[in-house]
Symmetry: C2
Subunit: 720 residues, 2 copies
């Protein structure tokens, strides 16, 4: 009898095992360390199709391959009820990050999300400007679902009967250990389509997985140099004269400025738009743009893509628009070539061709109450849901393409993106305007394949103004957005000198920022990124727990508490913004030694420190051996061909190495090899005195480096 | 040329007309004034299937037919992308109500909802305990989508290019009349399935459409008489002795009490549950239940349906449970007969058979973080989504069935319902506990085919306590829920006498409440309902606008502002609850004449009045000619066969007529005709003196009426 039972159980086991196997996706390594599986019948229109992204094969090859991070049988994929059911395993202490641009949380294990492009409305529920279906594990891998659908995510919340590590049932009446959220061993996802492509990105580290994801999407964007300067957006009804005056005021007062953003009033009508200049406010657009360029100021134009009946393209584009209107404007179906041709011809002829540098693409995110409903139809046959998930991608893609055809880089703002959008030269933004949460978004942008600006608008006090300026200066776009407030950098006289100093610091650091963006492009490393991607920050379970006090043991803390107010900026900098009202703050330093950015003094390593930097400083720390190349505090980014001197700073006691990027700063010629990385080395000669050197400029390649000097920031007697 | 153009336009028109026709659903009048259309391939498992509801054909026949409220060509239905796209027209001034149990809004035009069974989380977005896919128009019709899916609703928000009344595009730069929400002429819905049954309910009035919907679902529930008495829920770990003491305290202090609710601690384990008595706290359940019944007190037991491994049914039900657990308990698939047999046999044997009167069915609503995920599967093959939308229906249906097999009515609490659940003897509740919003939910319950209790738990002050007691007394279930707070009616000594008076008023009004519930059952009229269903409240556009002041012109106001803090209770009463902190409030009186419930004095009609009733009164007003039958202030509902005297009150200057319902109060024999409606008439003899009479008791039918007296509340010299 026992034998029979055993035999039956064995048969049951085999059949279960087989049925599990039958659901296991088949993985193919399509690039080194990147595996793909097609589940069911993947749709032809997906995030990669919409974005048109192509893998950066050379860069991926340079990374080499990796271990497949799962036992393949642990992954399950099934088509049920016309939907794709996915399950990926989680280990006990594993943490996961990603699933888009959240504002209040970094670690996502334990969350339930519906990934849905939308304006962020104060809750991390998956409705956000870039709900990228990509997550990164603390175990050093990433997973991407290439679907332009609203994906439901159960990130370590759903508990299966068949779990290998099921939670124990407890009696809530009497058991104090009862929990409303029992342990779950999987990420489960529901893709509302009869199939999907899924991708796994290997490590070994979490940053490696992120790099593979970014490179797979073509690598990060490389902005033009001017894009990394300072930008001011003016009042929505500003005239050409107002704009010129604004630029002149910046110059007169000595504040840097590279581009000015014009808001809806540049158009003859807006919401919906005509996509042509308002003849009253801008009677001679061509002349105006040229005048501004002569001042060293580029122009960026606000648009949203909804077409006014008064637009010159209204009639010709009508047949290529969706069934529903947005603010009574038609919604172009940009998946149709003719729709793109009509729309972008208007932008090109009227704006790009006269020298406009880029756009701020608004309202491609949400809300539901504003955009087309999910019952809308589009002439291409793509559904409203697919269009919602990809509209930001499409606008980025084809506007970039327009500038690319002129061999001119652009750098702009966009309110929605998604997986596949990594390479687009756009920075995300919104109206949410919570300083702390803006920093959390900046952190999460590194998992979502997007850039984010914690823009400055209005402020209650000079203190808040300066604190916000400080953090936007350490972000992808140093912007004051004064479309409504009319604020200017000097709006709070008490802090105006400190604001100027910060803005000039932004300019001085341009060689660093530009090189870091080049690494975003060529190596996939996000220039602004979560501490969780930094080696030595989240130590593995093998790290010795010195104390049960979270204060004294940041590694443990990194696992158990959200770190969402400090981030890495480029290869060497750790930025810990101050918020209005704070006199001091805690900073978690990863393992290794860290130095004050301003003084070069040693501040600590592998510990939590408290800093009280005063109002005029944002706490910034440099990794041991860090090198920061600076240029003089110019008011505009160097023009094409302009040479600038370099002051190269070295921090700490380790020798330093840095790859300084250089190209023409404006064109796409770098894609044809017209660029160089110059190696900077700082080390001790005979082990005694610090000495720095930079490799020679490559013959025939753009070279913007003038005189080079070295500053060794950390005194020997400060070394420990 | 002109002729040719005309001909072409004609052809275009014809083909457009044909293509619209091709999408127009085909309507069949399935009951008088009720039309059905099948769109695509409706699923076999839907709300009506889950609830097992059958139309009340006789009652519907008695209502007669109605006009189909649309031009059929205006309705569109299409299957696209595996989903059902529906569109119903809206007229310019039309208002719509319904789409479930909202807590903050009554009028739904302009809202976007996803109908999803869930705990209400503070936002009217469609996630609620009863997201019934039914809406009612101010034009006097209703629409029901019979689908157990998460339906997306654009209730007058989506704007089509092809609209007959398209909004005008405006320039936001300069036009002050620009609006972010342009006019929409339709309700559009997305049902994520390849078909759905849709129903239209005719009027002529909005209440008629609601009645047809309710009767189509079998009519409202008829609770047992004791269900309309007072109920107290005790602390979760109460013992049998504690419960007896509680009942004795009520009796000793003279507070009415009909049933006591036991919370999770009655079970040996909970969350997940064993569904058997805890032997420590309840050593002799059978004896205990009998003792309580002898005191005139019934018992109601808290459960949620998730099965503990320690339950006696754990093993036998295992194969009929879903793939995922809830608090480590299995989730029975109640669409499988064997699952029901196992589960309800346990409840019957252990509880119903020893005299337990009913259940409080918790956590069949949400949250997502607690319940099974949408990726769960169930052995019946029904999807997690379908189960989520119907689990509350299934629990209500089969628990009711269990009692019905004993020919015993039950009356309990449930946390989730949906379309089809009208006839179930359950009242919805939640933990949200906002007094004002609880009243809004009570109002909305009348559009959702459910009952709602604004239960009383704890209170900050005696004032709040009394105000909450006052409104719960004018609701479907007069309940104190003290599972956590341990409060009792006399917990605030300062207001204890006033609380007692309210509780006794509840008992005195039992003949009225019982008759009104009978009308819910036999005529489909919600006993507690929105003002918008009251004739003379929302006047049509033809009503004379006397003033542009909203204060002075309530009809106009009813169109333009939410009325969500007053409601109708039964045929004649208008209830306007007071909230803690208020000394006075405004009340909108519909057209006609209205009288103070307590004094019979005339208060107004067709106007906004301000009342300052003092702490011990809740403002209640009686319609002209209103009749309210009262019984003596007993501490328990009359037992089966017990006769009680009637005091019949008449209000106002119109003659009165009332249909008094009577039956045995406990069994289902009324379904076999064992009931009577006795006609009460109040009129002036010779046009001079008020005189009342009641029709004779029907021979052979239950008769609980003892002596009858009449009180004419309104003095002649008060008449106007």
């Amino acid at each position: 009898m026992t034998k029979l039972t055993n035999a039956l159980f064995f048969l049951l086991f085999i059949s279960l095992a087989l049925s599990v196997n039958a659901q296991a996706p088949v993985w193919t390594e399509i690039e080194p360390g990147i595996w793909k599986a097609a589940v069911g019948e993947p749709e032809t229109y997906d995030l990669l199709e919409a974005s048109g992204s192509e893998p950066g094969k050379e860069a991926l090859a340079a990374m080499g391959t990796a271990e497949f991070p799962f036992s393949e049988r642990e992954i399950s994929a099934e088509i049920i009820d016309g939907k794709t059911y996915l399950r990926f395993p989680l280990e006990k202490k594993e943490q996961i990050y990603g699933f888009g641009l959240h504002f209040q949380t970094v670690q996502q294990r334990g969350r339930i999300l519906r990934l849905h492009v939308d304006h962020y409305d104060g809750e991390d529920n998956g409705r956000t400007h870039a709900p990228t279906p990509f997550y990164v594990s603390s175990r050093g891998y990433g997973v991407f679902i290439n679907s332009a659908r609203y994906i439901d995510v159960y990130a370590g919340t759903a508990v299966r009967k068949e779990s290998k590590n099921p939670p124990v049932a407890r009696d809530r009446n009497t058991d104090e250990n009862w929990t409303p959220r029992p342990y779950s061993d999987a990420v489960e996802m529901l893709v509302p389509a009869e199939g999907a492509e899924i991708y796994v990105f290997g490590g070994p580290g979490s940053l490696d997985a992120v790099r593979r994801f970014n490179l797979f999407n073509g690598g990060g964007c490389l902005p033009p140099r001017w894009g990394l300067g300072f930008t001011q957006r003016v009042h929505r009804l500003s005239t050409a004269e107002d704009v010129k005056k604004e630029a002149d005021a910046f110059a007169r007062k000595g504040y840097p400025l590279d581009f000015i953003g014009l808001e809806p009033g540049w158009q003859s009508k807006s919401y919906p738009g005509t996509f042509e200049w308002d003849k009253g406010r801008f009677p001679e657009p061509g002349e105006f743009v040229m005048d501004m360029l002569e001042k060293g100021i580029r122009l960026n134009l606000w648009i949203n893509p909804y077409v006014s009946p008064a637009s010159p393209i209204a009639d010709s584009i009508a047949r290529y628009t969706g069934s529903h209107t947005v603010w009574a404007g038609t919604v172009p179906d940009f998946t149709i070539p003719e729709a793109r041709r009509i729309f972008f011809s208007q932008l090109k002829k009227d704006q790009a061709d006269i020298g406009v540098s880029g756009y701020k693409i608004d309202e491609v995110d949400g809300y539901d109450k504003w955009l087309w409903p999910d019952v809308a139809t589009f002439p291409s046959g793509h559904t409203a849901e697919q269009m919602r998930q990809t509209y930001g991608l499409l606008m980025q893609r084809y506007s970039t393409e327009m500038f690319r055809q002129r061999n001119t880089r652009t750098f702009g703002l966009v309110r929605a993106s998604n997986g596949g959008g990594v390479r687009f030269p756009y920075v995300l933004y919104n109206d949410y305007y919570d300083h702390r949460d803006f920093i959390t978004a900046l952190i999460n942008s590194s998992f979502a394949g997007v850039l984010w600006t914690p823009e400055v608008r209005a402020s209650e006090t000079g203190e808040e103004w300066l604190r916000r300026i400080q953090s936007v200066v350490f972000s992808p776009m140093a912007m004051i957005n004064a479309w409504s407030s009319g604020t200017q950098p000097w709006s709070f006289p008490g802090v105006a000198p400190a604001v100027k100093e910060m803005a000039l610091l932004r300019m001085r650091m341009m060689p660093y920022w530009y090189s870091e963006f080049a690494k975003y492009h060529f190596q996939g490393i996000p220039p602004f990124r979560a501490m969780n991607l930094e080696e030595g920050f989240a130590a593995g379970p093998e790290s010795v727990v010195q104390s049960s006090s979270l204060e004294e043991n940041p590694y443990e803390e990194a696992f158990t508490r959200e770190v969402k107010d400090q981030y890495m900026a480029g290869e060497y900098l750790l930025v810990a913004p101050m918020f209005a009202g704070e006199k001091s703050r805690k900073v978690i330093l990863p393992r290794g030694k860290w130095y004050d950015f301003y003084t070069g003094e040693y501040v600590g390593g592998g510990e939590v420190i408290t800093v009280s930097p005063g109002l005029d400083k944002i706490p910034v720390f440099v990794k041991d051996g860090g090198i920061i190349p600076l240029m003089p505090p110019l008011l505009h980014a160097p023009a094409q061909g302009e040479k600038t001197d370099l002051e190269i700073r070295h921090y700490g006691e380790k020798p330093g190495r840095y790859m300084l990027y250089d190209d023409d700063g404006v064109s796409y010629d770098y894609e044809r090899g017209e660029y160089s990385f110059r190696e900077i080395i700082v080390e001790k000669n005979n082990g005694k005195e610090w000495e720095g050197r930079i490799s020679a400029a490559e013959a025939g390649k753009p070279n913007t480096v003038g005189k080079v000097s070295f500053t060794f920031m950390t005194e020997d007697d400060e070394l420990r």
